[in-house]
Amino acid sequence: MTENDRPVIELKHVHKHFGDLHVLNDISLTVKKGEVVVIIGPSGSGKSTLCRAVNRLETIDSGEILFEGEPLPREGRKLAEMRARIGMVFQSFNLFAHRTVLDNLTIAPCDVLKTSKKEARQEAMRLLERVGVADQANKVPAQLSGGQQQRAAIARALAMHPKAMLFDEPTSALDPEMIGEVLNVMAELAKDGMTMLIVTHEMNFARKVADRVVFMDGGCIVEENTPEAFFGHPKSQRAKDFLSSLTAH
């Protein structure tokens, strides 16, 4: 096994129920180092739950989730330490409303990684520069546009030097004209070799950036393939229906 084939995220036979609903039904999935995996599927297919389960924002009923070969701790400091190594970007940005953008980037490195304040600030400014919102550093999140907030949120996750990034529908809450700027930042990240698991509805993005596309429906992984193969010749009927429903309007 070469260094690059090492799995970073590994799910083995994961099950989860919400009451009667089987949201995750025997999910097995591997994301290797540097790989970009995009999960698509109709709403309610369980793709968001899967993404959130990887850093245990959702618990699972059975099965196993491994990060860099270690099973996810179930609670306490160990779990927090594991999460610190996984970056997460949410649909609703979730920047801390009471702190400036810059503080949002330094607060966790200072608290969790015990980085010095000065170092954390320099790193934060570098990251804000990289995602193009350095000029907004001293504003509070509510003063920024959605696209700027989401880019800052990506920078906040990067400030922890994560080994992999999870994106839970990062552009779904954005106005159309702001989606591009966020996707560009994500594409840059992918090019730099970040390991990424992305839940999204942006098919063009998936086609261009993904190494692998995973199609989910009804809590199951229905199809898993390269973007060319998946979008060119979907094998399952459900995937065909889903793709044609997107082009229908």
Binding site: N55, L57, G76, R77, A80, E81, M82, R83, A84, R85, I86, G87, M88, F90, S92, F93, N94, L95, F96, A97, H98, I107, A108, D111, V112, V140, P141, A142, Q143, A153, R156, A157, M160
Partner: protein, 219 residues
């Protein structure tokens, strides 16, 4: 009586009464704030009996009339061989009742926190106590500033319970009934106390909105 006659005769007492009301308000609010925080911690703890106790405490002191509580403290407790001096009884009543409301305001303050903020903190690897210290406490305190300002004014109004027992020195309500039973102070005796209450309330309100402007969270 005219205002100048009243002030000539009772000016010192009014001043003393004003300071008594201020002192009572300050210490009652401080006590209510501390107890309110403790009760709120109990109410959000994962331990069911403590949650129940916290909820029960709030319902009792949020709903009991001040007069009823003061009477229990002053006249009923001695039958259980527990006797407090008058001023302590007043202080207990003016701490307990606002403390219940304080907890309610803190709970609403916490409820303004978007759940996503807590998830984001977790996803960044914060431990429970880091999350509490960095996100929950600052956000809920900031959005509780205005309700707590109003609570302080309400606490000031509650301290008028002090007029129901022989308090020495008297507070602003007690002094009015004192003057009126001694000499016919008339409307003016009331007007002076009322003005002092209003002034205090306005000062508290101004301070509160100044703090609120400094710390308000844009959402």
């Amino acid at each position: 009586m005219t205002v100048s006659q009243l002030l000539n005769q009772y000016g010192d007492r009014y001043l003393q009464a004003l300071f008594t009301t201020w002192r009572l308000t300050f210490f009652s609010f401080l006590g209510a704030f501390v107890i309110g925080i403790v009760i709120t911690v109990l109410r959000v703890s994962p331990i069911k009996p403590l949650r129940f106790f916290g909820d029960f405490y709030v319902q009792i002191f949020r709903n009991i009339p001040g007069a009823a509580l003061l009477i229990l403290l002053v006249y009923a407790l001695p039958y259980l061989k527990i006797t407090f001096p008058y001023d302590v009884c007043v202080l207990i009543a003016t701490v307990l009742i606002p403390s219940a409301f304080c907890s309610e305001h803190l709970m609403s303050g916490m409820n303004t926190i978007h759940p996503g903020q807590i998830e984001a903190a977790r996803a960044l690897g914060m431990t429970f106590f880091q999350l509490i210290r960095r996100v929950v406490i600052p956000q809920s305190l900031r959005s509780a500033v205005l309700p707590l300002t109003n609570l302080m004014v309400a606490t000031m109004l509650t301290t008028s319970l002090g007029s129901q027992v022989p308090l020495r020195p008297m507070e602003l309500t007690g002094i009015v009934s004192y003057i009126n039973t001694r000499s016919a102070g008339g409307v003016m005796a009331f007007a002076i106390s009322a003005a002092l209450y209003c002034l205090t309330g306005l000062l508290i309100g101004a301070a509160g909105s100044w703090i609120d402007r400094k710390v308000r969270i844009l959402r």
